[in-house]
Symmetry: C2
Subunit: 212 residues, 2 copies
C-alpha cells in the first residue's frame, strides 16, 4: 500500500519531532503494525479554551490553552486573560482515531472493534476508494464562557465546568486500554505488516519505544 508507506513516514517523522500525543504512541504503533490498516490523524483527547472569531469560522479559531491531560482551574483562569475577540468556548473532546482500511471487510471489523471498545460514535466514510473509519466517543463538552474578551462566568462556575470537562476526558481516555486489547486481538487475526517493521527500522523507532 503506497498510501500506507506515506502515512507511516509521516507518523514516524512526527514522532521524531515530538508532535504525537505521548499517551497514544504505543497504540498508534500497534494499529499501524497490523496488515491492511493504518492511521491518519488521531488525537489522545484534550481539554482547552478556544476562541472562535465567528460561529463556524473554524480555521480562524485559536486555542488560548489546550492540554491532553486534565486541565487545572488556574490554567483556565490564566488562559482567559488572553481572550480578545469572538466567542470563547471551554471544550473537552475524547480520543479520536482515524484508521484507513484497505477493503470493506476490514473497515467493518474496525467499526465493530471501535464500538466493542466503548467508542460509541465510531463511524466510517468511503472517500474515493478508501475506507476511513473514525473511532470516536460521545464525551464532548462545548460550553460558551464569554464573548469578545469579556468573561461571563465567575470562579465557581469555571471550576465546576473545568471539573465536568476533566471528568469527561478521564472517562473517554479510560477506554484506551480496552481499545488496545482489541487491536492486539485484531493483529492476531490479520497479521503483522512487514512494511511497518521495515520503516520503523529506517527511522530507528526502537531506540525510543518498544515495537509491538
Amino acid at each position: 500500500m503506497k498510501a500506507k508507506r506515506e502515512a507511516l513516514t509521516s507518523l514516524f517523522t512526527a514522532m521524531r519531532d515530538g508532535k504525537v500525543d505521548e499517551d497514544i504512541i504505543d497504540l498508534l504503533l500497534l494499529i499501524n503494525s497490523i496488515k491492511g490498516i493504518y492511521t491518519t490523524s488521531s488525537c489522545s483527547g484534550r481539554i482547552g479554551i478556544l476562541e472562535e472569531p465567528a460561529l463556524g469560522a473554524k480555521p480562524l479559531s485559536r486555542w488560548l490553552i489546550k492540554v491532553h491531560r486534565e486541565m487545572t482551574f488556574e490554567e483556565a483562569d490564566e488562559a482567559l486573560k488572553k481572550a480578545e475577540k469572538g466567542l470563547i468556548f471551554l471544550k473537552s473532546q475524547p480520543p479520536i482515531f482515524h484508521v484507513v482500511a484497505e477493503d470493506l471487510e476490514k473497515a467493518k471489523r474496525l467499526h465493530e472493534l471501535g464500538l466493542a471498545s466503548g467508542f460509541k460514535y465510531t463511524t466510517f466514510k468511503v472517500i474515493s476508494n478508501r475506507y476511513l473509519v473514525e473511532i470516536n466517543a460521545t464525551e464532548y463538552l462545548t460550553a460558551p464562557l464569554g464573548r469578545d474578551g469579556r468573561i461571563l462566568v465567575g470562579e465557581e462556575y469555571l471550576r465546576f465546568a473545568v471539573e465536568v470537562g476533566n471528568s469527561m476526558l478521564k472517562r473517554s481516555k479510560g477506554r484506551l486500554p480496552r481499545l488496545g486489547e482489541n487491536f492486539r486481538k485484531l493483529r492476531k487475526e490479520l497479521g503483522k505488516d512487514e512494511l511497518f517493521y521495515e520503516l520503523a527500522g529506517k527511522f530507528e523507532i526502537e531506540k525510543e519505544r518498544k515495537l509491538p
Copy 2:
C-alpha cells in the same frame, strides 16, 4: 425491500400520531419517495436542558425542556426550577437524518450529498448488511449549568448561552433547504419508489400533506 415497508409504516404511523417534527416532514417524505433508500430515526434539530443523573447514564437522563425551534430565556429559566439531581446541561443539536441505503453505491451518494449540503459530520456505518448513513452537522453545544438542583450560572450567562445555542440551531437548520434541493436531484437520478406511494395511499397521507 421488506425493511423499507416496515420503516414507512412506522413513519406514517408516527406522522398520524403527531410524533414527527413538523419542519422536516416534507423532507422525510421526499427522501422516502426515492427508490433504494429510506429514513429511520431523524430529528429536525433541538435545543433544551437535560439532566443526567450520572455522567454517561444516558437512559436515565430527562429533559427539563426540549424544543425544535429557538428557546426563550424565560423557558430556560422556568425549566431550571425543575432540576433535582445530577448534572444539568444546556444542549443544542443540529438536524440529523439516518438514511438506510440498499447498497454501497447509494450509501456513497448519500454521504456525498450530506457533505455537499453542508452537513460536515456525515458518516456511515455498515450494520449486518445494511448501509446506514448519518447526515449530521457540527453545531453542537453542551454547556453544564449546575448540579443536583443547584444552578451555578446567573441570568446574564443563561441569556448568553441560550443565545449561542439558538444561533447554532439556526445555522444548522438553515441548511435544510439545500439538503432538500440535493435530494430532489437524487430523486431524478434514482427514480421514484412505487412502494412509497402505495403505502402513502393506504395511510391517506395526501389528506394532510402534498406528496413529493
